[in-house]
């Protein structure tokens, strides 16, 4: 073990000697990439906030996240508990400022707790979709050959089915619980990050630093994930916002169709519940609807801000 490390160490030196100007040593580029995000975070954040979209989106998103995190303090107790008379209109009784639903449950606490479920599901689903997509895209792009063919044909097979139907089918089989909903949404959304990652990897894998990494004896997958992938992440990360926004809407649509977790409040299920009394108490559907619009808007604006900020970084670089 030690001898191998020693040898790879010496090979690294050798690589430095062989490619003094052209290629940064393996690892350096990825550090630079992460550095721009994390070490010089203040300047990236500054650029993000300098874009109007970034500022508005981030403000809205932080407010939503704060509400979701603080739900147990803002609206203590079970949000599904029956607290008052059914179908109170907003502002009618200040104990229930946003009114009550058909069973007398407080709309405000449902809205607050709904933000929690919605964001939880959306962010986990997006993370899972990105995770699956990036892994598969990296493997396909870097290894190429039949592995690439097989993985991309699988991705295409998934892409031919509308994502929502795929999710719906999975959930109707496994039953509506939060983990399966997250998985279901992820399974309908991993293809795009996979393809983009693969494309980026393809353009990167012939670069000299990859050859250098090969020379120092790194294993192919190690090179793919440790050296190439970090350089391919930028466009994929800007895709995250689109996926989160889509996940929010898919989760809402699932709950609306009755495929949400019935033991949790979600905005989609609130809209579905309110639909039966749409003409009589439209606020029951409109209020969670506004919540959904706000969330999707916030995520989209933030995503656009991030993309813009990254572009300026590239221009400056």
């Amino acid at each position: 073990m030690t001898s191998k490390q020693d040898s790879s160490f010496s090979e690294e030196k050798e690589a430095k000697r062989l490619f003094p100007l052209d290629a940064a040593p393996p690892g350096a580029r990825s550090e630079k990439f992460f550095g721009s995000f994390f070490q010089k975070r203040t300047s990236f954040l500054f650029r993000l906030l300098a874009t109007g979209e970034g500022l508005a989106g981030l403000a809205l998103l932080s407010a939503l996240v704060a509400i979701a995190l603080a739900a147990p303090f803002l609206a203590p107790g079970d949000p599904l508990a029956i607290k008052g008379d059914p179908l109170l209109r907003p502002w009618q009784n200040m104990a229930h400022p946003l009114g009550t639903d058909r069973l007398g449950r407080d709309v405000l606490s449902a809205l607050i707790h709904g933000a929690r479920t919605t964001l939880l599901v959306a962010v986990s689903a997006a993370a899972a979709a990105l995770g699956i997509g990036i892994t598969i895209g990296t493997i396909a792009g870097f290894l190429g050959g039949w592995v690439d063919e097989v993985l991309m044909r699988i991705a295409e097979a998934f892409q031919t089915v509308p994502a929502f139907l795929l999710t719906l089918a999975l959930i109707s089989v496994t039953g509506p619980r939060v983990p399966t909903i997250v998985l279901g949404i992820a399974i309908g959304a991993w293809m795009q990050p996979a393809r983009i990652t693969r494309a980026e990897i393809l353009s990167l894998r012939e670069r000299d630093f990859v050859a250098a990494a090969r020379v120092i004896g790194m294993r192919p997958l190690e090179i793919a994930f440790r050296e190439v992938l970090p350089n391919a992440l930028t466009p994929v990360v800007s895709l995250a916002a689109v996926i989160v926004a889509a996940a929010v809407l898919i989760e809402a649509a699932l709950s609306f169709l009755g495929f949400g977790d019935p033991n949790r409040v979600t905005w989609g299920s609130m809209i579905a519940e309110g639909r039966t009394v749409l003409r009589r108490a439209p606020f029951l559907s409109i209020i969670p609807g506004i919540g959904l619009v706000m969330t999707v808007l916030a995520v989209h604006l933030t995503g656009q801000g991030v993309a813009k900020a990254l572009r300026t970084r590239r221009h400056m670089a």
Binding site: D78, L80, A81, I82, P86, L87, R102, L103, G104, S172, G175, P176, G258, P262, N263, R275, T276, V277, L278, R279, R280, A281
Partner: protein, 529 residues
């Protein structure tokens, strides 16, 4: 019931215009478009006694008699004109209507009744199987007399109560010698009714047309009935307002929307016409689960439910609270002396403490899986309510929501539930639809039956005795004793009894004029001229 409910007021209001309506000229012809929410693939009412099937099939295929608000035994003759049970309960004679022809032109005779009874109702009927279990033979001395012979004494009262729902007569010449369950006539119906089956376009509509050779003179009034598929409940109300449909039965218009739609000019709301199809909102309890096998726990659950709130908030007043398994409208069999369980969370908590289920540190005594039936908005909403009601007495219920096939499998085949919300239908006699909820030893897979493991030898004895009792008064006594016993045991928790609302344009005449109106033949329905 101290104050008049909205429902009784509406029922009264709907009954009043019945009198002058006879004076309104009734136009002949016209097409009635009604909202339909399901399209059962098998429409044969002799096999499947279900309201979804009857809604369409009752206009095409007729029973021996139909339910009526007035008249002997609460029945109006259809294919039979008279019936008489023998005092020993061994036979029942039917006089059949003369001059009736099938839609394909063949004459209707006693042979059709004999074939339907022995080959279809007894062998394939989902409810008929039980009622006609002891039917041994049907004698046909002439073309218009059918005498049913029973192997065991069978109460005439039971057969009479079964006539509207379980005696749809199908044509022998189309079914004889075929696989009855797969006969194409189960879908393309052939009957004797006032309307003929014209076409079914899946996902769009089912169309019936006037039968010009109907046995009743000058009937039906309508030329066509079109069942337009509108699975979205919000759509039915809008379609009525837009006059795209003229009638929405079975509460196709959501209850919460009724207050508003009742005020729209040209639209009428009928809350009667479903007495013969009363549904019961019940909580079924899996008696195999250790905690729930203790009657104190079951009583605690019964005490935890605020029935008045359920009627007010979930049914918007269009229901009645219920404590026993026979609904109040059946004055013959309903046991008024069953006290039942009032809303009393303190008592419920005390009972649970007593049963040895103290609250844990988190306030929870034990956890249950709750499967609300997905059949109605109300059963789902009651599931949400029940979860909260149980939380108040320290029982944490996790809702498991399924679609209809998965729900039926989970509850009635796999028995994978702790409590479920169900909505059995009461069909006019406890022997038809009530005893099956309590008798033990049923095989798994029989839906809407005792799959929750309730077993009480005394109850089984009462059920057996009552089945063999032919004296009307004695049957009533036994079935009242049954209600008392199962309510004491909390075999299941009865919460409310509900039926449906019909909303129609006000130019549609003769709506809701019998206790099974939505599933009757509509031969007198027409448009105001």
């Amino acid at each position: 019931m101290t104050a008049p409910t909205r429902r009784s007021l509406l029922a009264g209001a709907a009954a009043l215009p019945l009198l002058p309506r006879a004076a309104i000229a009734q136009r002949r012809g016209g097409r009635l478009t009604v909202a339909a929410d399901s399209e059962p693939p098998n429409l044969n009412p002799a096999i499947i006694a279900s309201n979804g099937v009857f809604f369409v099939a009752s206009k095409v295929i007729e029973p021996l008699a139909e339910a009526a608000y007035t008249g002997k035994d609460g029945l109006a003759p259809r294919l039979a004109t008279a019936w008489e049970g023998a005092p020993d309960g061994r036979s029942m004679a039917f006089t059949l209507r003369q001059g009736v022809t099938w839609h394909d032109g063949r004459p209707f005779t006693s042979a059709d009744v004999a074939f339907s009874a022995l080959e279809v109702w007894k062998k394939h009927g989902n409810l008929g199987r039980a009622v006609f279990r002891n039917l041994e033979a049907v004698e046909t001395p002439d073309a218009h007399t059918a005498i049913f012979r029973f192997a065991e004494p069978t109460p005439a009262q039971l057969i009479r109560n079964a006539l509207p729902a379980l005696t749809a007569v199908v044509p022998k010449h189309l079914y004889e010698g075929t696989d009855i369950m797969r006969n194409p006539a189960n879908q393309k119906l052939v009957g004797t009714g006032p309307f003929r089956f014209a076409e079914w376009r899946p996902g769009e509509y089912t169309r019936l047309v006037r039968n010009p050779t109907y046995w009743q003179q000058d009937r039906p009034h309508l030329n066509e009935i079109v069942y337009r598929v509108l699975p979205d409940r919000a759509a039915a109300g809008n379609a009525l307002e837009a006059e795209e449909i003229q009638l929405a039965a079975f509460s196709a218009v959501p209850l919460a929307d009724l207050d508003r739609i009742a005020k729209v000019p040209g639209i009428k709301v009928y809350s009667n016409g479903y007495e013969g199809l009363t549904y019961q909102l019940v909580v079924e309890i899996n008696h195999r689960r250790k905690e729930l096998s203790d009657v104190r726990v079951r009583r605690a659950i019964a005490h935890a439910i605020d029935r008045d709130f359920v009627v007010r908030a979930i049914f918007r007043g269009y229901a009645t609270t219920s404590q026993g398994p026979v609904p109040k409208y059946d004055r013959t069999f309903h046991a008024p002396d069953v006290a039942g369980y009032g809303f009393n969370p303190q008592r419920a908590n005390a009972l649970l403490d007593e049963a040895g289920h103290p609250r844990g540190a988190d306030g929870i005594r034990f956890r249950l899986r709750l499967l609300p039936a997905p059949f109605f908005n109300e059963t789902r909403q009651f599931g949400d309510y029940l979860r909260q009601a149980l939380a108040a007495i320290g029982i944490e219920a996790t809702i498991v929501s399924n679609d209809t096939p998965a729900h039926l499998r989970a509850v009635y085949t796999d028995r994978a539930f702790d409590i479920t919300v169900a909505s059995p239908v009461y069909r006019g006699d406890p022997a038809i639809s009530t005893t099956i909820l309590f008798q033990s030893g049923l095989p798994a897979g029989v839906p809407f039956a005792n799959q929750y493991g309730y077993e009480n030898a005394e109850v089984d004895t009462i059920i057996r005795q009552a089945a063999a009792t032919i004296d009307d008064a004695e049957r009533v006594r036994l079935y009242r004793a049954l209600q008392k016993q199962v309510t004491d045991d909390v075999a299941l928790v009865n919460v409310a009894e509900f039926s449906f609302i019909t909303v129609a344009r006000d130019n549609v005449l003769n709506v809701s004029n019998n206790p099974r109106w939505a599933v009757s033949n509509w031969s007198d329905v027409g448009f105001a001229g």
